[in-house]
């Protein structure tokens, strides 16, 4: 990695790295690290939301402790999701045209609508109905600006009757039921953006939306697990092992499905052996070897799968289980980021002439550089921190839990 301040110098250095023949317009990679960050973030959103839905729709009581945390995590990441796209545009100031004059044939034009639907109709509604009663109770006990903030957030509703509680519960349930296909839509759609590009054999696959979806679920569950494991000791609380075991189990199942789908995709490509197979094989054996085989497959998939499986197979003390889960979830994050990288960057490393390879040199500074990407990946955590201050997702903050103190099951 080098510090490229001069654009011409950067392109000239790329030209030297070209292997074989590429079309002259292909020297520059058009979708940079920002476009890697975008599907990674939306994946976390969809995954965290689907985890939250498990509690409400499938009534998985063990992971109740992470329900609100998952929703706030999804919201924090969703708020940041459009930023990498916006920063990557040649003319961000014209981006609103996507809403005003969308080309209805374009998959990308649907972004604004899918995003708005998911944010407004699903996530905000579910959070609002879920928190409404607590917001009212908090406002009653508070003074000054905090009281007003909670009153405004509750949209000045003040009804805490049983009837209203039942309505809230029902509303949350309905929104969740709509939310699951919406979350599938959000990330399936991101996969479709890539999967529908027939010009690019690395992307063009009907499996792409499904693979994106399951890798999203994997990354979302792993993220909530990580946040839960970091935040709980920080709050001087005990980690609920039943919750953690359940999260790890879900993570394991999602990974198995994800792994199977990716393997299917791989076998399918090799078996069909279309004209692109030679250049793709060269790509995988060469420029993607580390990020695909080592990081995505071995570190991000095989290692965490083995770790969780061994914890399940052998009776292990809680301490060791926690450590294994934590490391596995971390590895999963690295692996899924690498998956996004291999799709987005990998798909641009070979020429559409199928005769050569180019390279990607990430700049460190600059709008499409590494620093901006790191900031974009850190921002959701800051937003999540603020959100947990405004609307604590913890059980003890909930009104119905406040009186009978909740006991950790550890």
């Amino acid at each position: 990695m080098h510090l490229w301040t001069n654009e011409a110098e950067r392109l000239a250095s790329l030209l030297k790295e070209v292997q074989g023949y590429i079309y002259p317009n292909e020297v520059e990679l058009h979708w940079s690290i920002l476009v890697v960050v975008y599907p990674y973030i939306t994946g976390l959103v969809a995954g965290a939301f689907i985890l939250a839905s498990l509690v409400k729709v499938f009534n998985v009581r063990e992971v109740q402790a992470t329900y609100r945390l998952s929703l706030l995590t999804a919201l924090a990441f969703l708020l940041i999701a459009p930023l990498p796209l916006l920063a990557h545009l040649g003319h961000p100031e014209r981006s609103f045209e996507i809403f005003l004059t969308p080309n209805t044939q374009s998959a990308m034009a649907m972004f604004g609508f899918v995003y708005a639907w998911y944010l407004m109709a699903v996530l905000l509604l579910e959070i609002w109905f879920g928190y409404r009663r607590d917001l009212i109770y908090w406002a009653r006990e508070e003074k000054g600006p905090k009281k007003w903030m909670h009153r405004v957030l509750a949209l000045f509703s003040s009804d805490v009757s049983d009837r209203s509680r039942k309505f809230d519960t029902k509303a949350v349930q309905i929104v969740t039921v709509i939310g699951i296909p919406s979350a599938f839509l959000l990330h399936g759609y991101v996969g479709f953006i890539f999967g529908s590009v027939k010009a690019n054999p690395w992307w063009s696959s009907v499996l792409m939306p499904i693979v994106f979806l399951f890798s999203a679920i994997v990354s979302g569950i792993a993220l909530v697990l990580l946040i839960y494991m970091v935040v709980t000791p920080m709050r001087n609380k005990q980690i609920d092992m039943a919750c953690l075991d359940k999260l790890a189990a879900f993570l394991f199942y999602a990974m198995i499905v994800d792994f199977s789908l990716e393997t299917l995709d791989f076998i399918h490509r090799i078996y069909e052996s279309e004209e692109s197979i030679k250049i793709l094989a060269e790509l995988v054996r060469g420029r993607l070897l580390v990020s695909l085989v080592v990081v995505q497959l071995l570190m991000g998939m095989i290692a965490p799968l083995t770790m969780i499986a061994s914890v399940k197979l052998f009776r292990t003390p809680a301490e060791l289980r926690r450590l294994m889960y934590f490391v596995a979830a971390l590895l999963v994050q690295v692996g899924i980021f690498s998956t996004r990288w291999n799709v987005v960057i990998g798909g641009q490393l070979f020429s559409k002439s199928l005769r050569g390879l180019t390279t990607y040199k990430m700049s460190i500074v600059g709008i499409e550089g590494l620093l901006v990407s790191i900031v974009l990946l850190l921002l959701p955590f800051i937003i999540l921190f603020v959100l947990t201050k405004i609307m604590p997702p913890w059980d003890e903050a909930r009104h119905e839990f406040a009186k009978p103190a909740s006991e950790g099951k550890a």
Binding site: Y21, N25, E26, E28, H30, G90, T101, K352, S353, R355
Partner: protein
């Protein structure tokens, strides 16, 4: 730049409503979309409620409801004209006519390239860059020329140094080479263009004369079209930060001239003309040669036709 054709010449094929005027009426472009003036919700929303003159209103709830309804309607109507404008304007496309008498709907352009005639001099590449203000750096091309050398063992070497703008160097004699030829490349102006399909805002579009154009005043620079083009014919202009590509020299063909690359070709390897008119030189080219197109399996239906196309070219 008063003359729309000059605007086109500057490479910015802008908002059609700005450049094109209706044939019959010759009125300003607003008349193309008269419906806009009467968006259903707009008119009622402009009326103020009669009762709002200081007198207490007995029916406040329904008034408020009405007010909210109308406000919502008025707000929504802000978005409607934009949605309607583009589709309505397109419906009127057949009556558009460019200043200077050029009628897009009366033409259907394509290009023929005879690979056997191309000598790889690269004059077309240079002429294109000069004519269209394409950046001179070796990463931006509206057209370029590839050289293929096929050896007896099946090994193929392809190169295009700097798009062949300075032609090619003379390789040392190689008796193993069994076929060698040059292939000029450019935007294929597909009939089923994937770039037009994916553009989120419709900034890249197909003109009634079959030419695929980019509205650089409208392009948001998302580069999805560059990803979708199977031919590598598009690039992001480093100055305007918008997608750019060959326009068949639209500013020239609308004046009855040939594209710059065709005009300068010393061997007449490039033939520009009407795809559908019998008298056109392109029709003759299509009749006289065995024709191939690039990547036919992708169903993009290119309008750049190659004579004597080799199996190795993609």
């Amino acid at each position: 730049m008063d003359n729309p054709c000059e605007r086109l010449a500057a490479g910015s094929v802008g908002n059609p409503c700005e450049t094109l005027v209706p044939e019959v009426t010759n009125k300003p472009c607003e008349t193309l979309v008269p419906e806009l003036a009467k968006t259903p919700c707009e008119t009622p929303s402009m009326k103020m409620p009669d009762k709002s003159c200081g007198v207490p209103n007995p029916n406040a709830t329904s008034d408020r409801r009405n007010f909210l309804k109308k406000t919502l309607c008025a707000f929504a109507s802000l978005f409607v004209p934009n949605l309607v404008a583009a589709s309505e304007a397109l419906k009127n496309a057949p009556v558009w006519i460019l200043a200077g008498g050029y009628k897009p709907y009366e033409h259907y352009w394509g290009m023929g390239i005879d690979i056997n005639k191309c000598i790889g001099c690269g004059r077309c590449v240079d002429a294109c860059k000069t004519e269209n203000n394409v950046p001179r750096e070796p990463y931006y091309f509206r057209t370029w020329v590839e050289r293929y050398r096929v050896r007896a063992d099946g090994d193929v070497t392809v190169d295009s140094p700097n798009g062949a703008i300075n032609s090619f160097d003379n390789p040392p004699p190689d008796t193993d080479v069994i076929r060698s030829f040059f292939v000029p490349k450019l935007c294929n102006h597909c009939d089923n263009p994937p770039c037009v399909q994916v553009c989120p805002v419709g900034a890249t579009y197909q003109s009634p004369d079959g030419v695929v154009l980019v509205d650089s005043d409208y392009c948001i620079g998302c580069r999805y079209c560059i990803q979708a083009c199977p031919y590598g014919a598009r690039f992001l202009d480093p100055v305007t930060r918008t997608a750019q590509k060959c326009t068949f020299c639209y500013h020239r063909i609308t004046k009855g001239l040939q594209p710059a690359c065709v005009e300068v070709c010393p061997t007449q390897a490039r033939v520009f003309g009407e795809v559908k008119k019998k008298a056109s030189p392109l029709q003759r080219f299509l009749r006289m040669n065995k024709i191939g197109i690039l990547k036919p399996s992708l169903n993009t239906e290119p309008k750049v036709y190659y004579a004597n196309l080799d199996v190795e070219v993609n």
